[in-house]
């Protein structure tokens, strides 16, 4: 690969407090990871393996204890305006309408922030168009608590994308949804990414989700929180939901399942 990596983790370690660092208790250890521009990666692993910690590092909410994180060639020192993030809970602000919630990043991130007054009409039209793309046309002026869980999560993804970030960070965004809604949102995310070509880092515990959506999958182990395996997903794009019922798909899921099962067993032996 000749082009420089878009997201570049170089031997990154993080301990949450100074005491933990001295005791050698790191939440994540020795993370080395390179993501090409436009790539969709997924991070899977057992619960408590440091997936969310990884996310905090990638967003710049937490500085690493050791190592360096670069995004788009620059070292990360704090939150990045070129990234957008959606969480497991939709976290929409209940006093704002859906449209106003989606517009929120434009009130914070430059250059939109200073242009908002002059170009409000245009930005609003953009937010409405984005909401329409995820099937929320007609719900713009509803409040979040008037929407279903799946609709709230769609609005939350729109909010993460409205300022056209180059990097979308998703922290188990579909975890709380029912199976049908989840698959529907997979397709919405797939189409948005295909159309706009942004990078995605998806943290999930759903192996089928990771195989369906990602170009490559990283498996993390629990205590120590390390990346133990990288698995490319060779399935051709665009992928249809039917692909999830093919033997190739099943094999990859099965293989990943095997690794995670082995990790769990190893973890239990250590614990004993």
């Amino acid at each position: 690969m000749s082009a420089p990596a878009f997201v570049d983790f170089r031997d990154v370690w993080l301990a949450y407090t100074e005491d933990l660092r001295k005791q050698g208790k790191f939440a994540v250890e020795a993370i080395d990871l390179k993501v090409a521009r436009g790539e969709f990666i997924a991070i899977v692993g057992p619960s408590g393996c440091g997936k969310s910690t990884f996310m905090k590092l990638a967003t710049g909410l937490k500085p690493p204890s050791a190592g360096e994180i670069r995004v788009d060639g620059r070292t990360v020192h704090g939150p990045l305006k070129i990234s957008g993030m959606a969480f497991q809970s939709a976290s929409l602000l209940p006093w704002r309408t859906t449209l106003a919630n989606v517009m929120l990043p434009l009130e914070i991130v430059e250059p939109y922030r200073s242009e908002l007054k002059a170009r409000r009409q245009e930005f609003e039209a953009r937010a409405r168009a984005l909401l329409a793309r995820v099937g929320l046309a007609g719900y713009e002026d509803k409040f979040p608590w008037q929407l279903s869980g799946g609709m709230q999560q769609r609005a939350s993804i729109c909010r993460a994308l409205i300022h056209e970030p180059q990097l979308l960070l998703l922290d188990e965004p579909f975890g709380a949804l029912d199976a049908f809604t989840r698959e529907e949102l997979w397709c919405i995310l797939r189409d948005l990414q295909a159309a706009q070509g942004f990078n995605v880092i998806l943290v999930t515990h759903d192996l089928r989700e990771s195989v369906f959506l990602a170009d490559s999958i990283y498996v993390m182990s629990k205590s120590p929180g390390r990346i133990v395996l990288k698995r490319e997903v060779p399935l051709p794009r665009p992928r249809d939901l039917d692909v999830t019922y093919t033997p190739e798909f099943g094999e990859i899921v099965h293989e990943l399942r095997g690794h995670i099962g082995a990790l769990k067993k190893a973890g239990m032996e250590i614990a004993q």
Binding site: G78, F87, S91, L93, L104, V109, W145
Partner: protein, 254 residues
Amino acid sequence: MSARLNLQSHAHWLLLVAVLVLWQSVCGLFDVSEFLFPSPARIAQQFWEHHAVILAHAWRTWWVTMLGFAISIVVGVLLGCLMGSSRLAYAAMYPLMTGFNALPKAAFVPILVVWFGIGVGPAVLTAFLISFFPIMVNIATGLATLEPELEDVLRVLGARRTDVLWKVGLPRSMPYFFGALKVSITLAFVGTTVSEMTAANEGIGYLLISAGSSMQMGLAFAGLLVVGAMAMVMYELFARLERRLTGWAHRGQS
């Protein structure tokens, strides 16, 4: 269903009428002296007789209370923001503020008179001192109990602390704020009246004292009722504002 709702929305008037009827009949039946406990009819008559004087004093109490209350909103919100956004400030200020709030505010009036003289100063300050605490505590609680997820939504975008306060913290605290306003406004009227009783030559508090000392009990009661009515009007105003502005927080009950 609608008949029942109707009854509910007028229940307070019905109760008021019932109390007045009972009061009037007790006074009539037992022939209570009006120097001890005047009947509602007598109070109404006295009110009408002295209405110009009462309304002039009420106007004074009204604007003095509003001035004190405005100061307590400003100070309460500012201190609440400070306490709610900094743990250090919270830990440092909360015990002291609680101690201060436990002091009887009527005891401040003589001191305020020494500082500011008889008149508007002590009344405004007493209204302020007695009413800012609930506002401060509620704003601080609203900010301190902010869900970290909501804060993170803004923080990942690189938002400044003031952004987080304006976009999430303060809107999220509005239900707490209105709850505090409804408590504080009634306290502010208490503060003004208490202060006027010893440290003013105008206002309902002064009227109460002078009516009492000249045994005009009907007039004293009329003054009390006017204070109660003013506090209720303000309470209702804030309750309506609350329903309009923070409907999102009360969605289960509408």
